[in-house]
């Protein structure tokens, strides 16, 4: 377990010392902010549109986080030093997976500002526009922090980011005197987003284990995840003609299972789908790493 955590820690650190982590984080916040703000300004103030849209852009963003995990180690040969240290393949793969999951959690935590803004919106429902501005100010604040940290190489960026987020959260919490409305769906929505993202990351990690080329790892990961979305859309087309196929698809569709979480429903079937996808991909990744050593 110590080896797993040691590897995970190194991976998290490297997301904060390389531009990839910041670019993905900034892009994620920008798009999430947009999908949060637009429905909020236009109509009802809930998180559901944001949670649902997230599936689509996570498909594009998450493989960018996982693509280097193993492909880079194989290309540069660092895997030789890593795997001649006393760690098993499973420990190495799990460490890397935990590392990237932790970074994803940071991404999700960064979006906690949106539900908080939402609660402000409810608390001061007379002025619905005002909280939106607050949200944007906070978004800009966090992005600035991220960029500041990214352009000062060598310095430790973590304190910068932490300070940025802390400031943002303090401001919002002070504003959010009212209680969080509809807190159930928000919490389950985040749980669903985490599980969905983690299974996407597992798919991406597997792709990274299969090649030495990071771009190939990204594209294959993207295609697999897009394929999962397309299958989901297909279920709508075939619902009339062959209903049982639509039925089967709805069982394995990563998107439809997220819907339940967004509604506030925790179903073990939904959790089971994501967890089994993760376990399958991680097991295959372990095999793939073992095979590269065998050759």
């Amino acid at each position: 377990m110590k080896a797993v955590l040691t590897i995970a820690e190194r991976e998290i650190r490297s997301y904060f010392t390389s531009p990839v982590g910041f670019v993905v984080l900034a892009g994620f916040l920008l798009i999430t902010g947009f999908f949060f703000y637009v429905p909020l300004a236009l109509e009802h103030g809930t998180l559901r549109p944001m949670v649902q849209n997230t599936t689509v852009y996570l498909t594009f963003l998450l493989p960018a986080l996982t693509m280097r995990l193993l492909a880079e180690e194989k290309k540069t040969g660092t895997i030789e030093i890593l795997m001649t240290s006393p760690v098993t393949e499973a420990q190495a793969v799990l460490g890397k997976f935990l590392g990237v999951c932790a970074f994803y959690v940071v991404m999700l935590v960064a979006t906690l500002q949106f539900p908080l803004v939402l609660s402000v919106a409810r608390a001061t429902s007379g002025t619905p526009i005002f909280p939106g501005y607050v949200g944007i100010i906070i978004l800009v604040g966090t992005l600035t922090t991220a960029v500041m940290a990214a352009v000062t190489p060598g310095n430790r960026p973590l304190p910068w980011v932490a300070a940025g987020f802390a400031l943002a959260l303090v401001i919002v919490t002070i504003l959010a005197i009212g209680k969080l409305p509809e807190s159930g769906p928000v919490i389950t929505g985040y749980l669903g987003l985490f599980l969905l993202g983690a299974s996407f990351l597992a798919v991406g990690l597997l792709c990274s284990a299969l090649t030495r080329n990071q771009i190939v790892a990204y594209v294959v990961g993207l295609v697999l995840l897009l394929g999962m979305l397309i299958v989901d859309w297909m279920s709508d087309w075939v619902r009339r003609s062959v209903p049982w196929i639509a039925e089967v698809i709805s069982y394995i569709s990563v998107r439809q299972h997220l819907e339940n979480f967004a509604k506030g429903v925790i179903d073990t079937r939904d959790i089971f789908l994501y967890v089994s996808l993760m376990v399958l991909c991680l097991a295959l990744t372990v095999r793939a790493v073992a095979t590269t050593r065998w050759k």
């Binding site: 040691t6 590897i7 660092t78 030789e80 030093i81 795997m83 001649t84 098993t88 190489p153």
Partner: protein, 322 residues
């Protein structure tokens, strides 16, 4: 410390390593010598536990690298040939990471990292990003990585490859300094390197061991003629004729030097010492003897000699290129 028995590894049909057997004692520096593609890296990767052999066994500190892989890996440090390091980490973080990964306790962590920094002379670069280091420093950080957990066995694949002459000398000193109680197993395709750095040499060619011995023994064992270099100021043809006529002299070649003297490369038989005869003959004739020097066989010659014996006649041309 390192015991290798009948190690065999195939890449497709080609046996990259073919029945390699040798052992290295505690505190010994064992040089692994052979041309590129002889199977050095493959053997080292197997011993380091990176890939399993197809046949045979390798043991590090008594642990089988396949059966007790993790335990064996705890006792070794390995630096691959092209020094693959994490470029986005600082030297200090990098060493701390591998020390932790290899089970150094929290209490000893700092001491171990500092000891590795000191031993390899990279302490002043501790806070540098590895990607910004020069080649020589990079190599030293690679070695620091291999010894940060204080292993019994160090495996260094081509530790002087790609370094400039000054760095090569520094690297040799460093490796000798690291010896202590450790077994160091290093490879090189440069023969004087092996000679300068190791106690014993394993010569490998096309996946097979062709000789294992100390450098001194290798030279004397294979030496069939006494080689001398004689520099004389005198009439070239006459001197050559006189030398040729001496008993015990097998062959004399000559060439003129720039300052008017002549160098004779003399081969004498191993049974008699011909040096006295040569010097008296020259002095008696009134010529000037400028230099008389015994030449030992170079490792290049040893290598060619050994591999020529192993190979079929048709393959000798290929050897000559080494």
């Amino acid at each position: 410390m390192v015991e290798v028995e009948n190690l065999t590894k195939y890449y497709g049909d080609l046996a990259a390593v073919d029945g390699v057997t040798f052992a290295a004692q505690k505190g010994e520096i064992l040089g692994f010598l052979g041309p590129n593609g002889a199977g050095k890296t493959t053997t080292m990767r197997i011993i380091a536990g990176f890939m399993p052999p197809d046949r045979g066994t390798a043991r590090v500190a008594g642990y089988d690298v396949v059966e007790d892989s993790v335990e064996a890996r705890r006792h070794l440090g390995y630096l691959p040939e092209n020094v693959p390091l994490y470029d986005d980490m600082t030297v200090g973080h990098y060493l701390t990471f591998f020390a932790k990964l290899r089970g150094v306790s929290k209490k000893q962590l700092r001491a171990c990292v500092e000891a590795a920094l000191e031993a390899t002379d990279v302490a002043e670069r501790e806070h540098w990003l590895i990607g910004k280091l020069s080649k020589g420093f990079r190599r030293r950080v690679g070695i620091a990585q291999a010894l940060v957990h204080n292993p019994d066995v160090l495996i260094l694949d081509e530790p002087t490859e790609g370094l400039d002459p000054i760095q090569v000398i520094a690297m040799r000193d460093l490796i000798r300094k690291l010896r202590g109680q450790r077994t160091i197993f290093l490879s090189t395709h440069i023969l004087p390197e092996a000679q300068a750095m190791s106690d014993r040499i394993v010569i490998i060619d096309r996946g097979r061991v062709v000789a294992i011995d100390t450098t001194h023994n290798l030279t004397t064992r294979l030496q069939r003629v006494h080689r001398l270099r004689v520099e004389v100021r005198g009439p070239r043809t006459e001197v050559q004729a006189r030398l040729n006529a001496l008993p015990g002299i097998l062959r004399v070649d000559s060439r003129d030097t720039r300052d008017g003297a002549t160098v004779f490369d003399v081969e004498g038989s191993m049974e008699t010492d011909v040096r006295e005869r040569i010097s008296t003959t020259i002095v008696k004739n009134g010529w000037a003897l400028l230099e008389l020097d015994t030449r030992e066989m170079t490792l290049e010659e040893i290598f060619l000699e050994l591999t020529r014996r192993q190979r079929p006649a048709g393959a000798s041309q290929e050897v000559a290129k080494v």
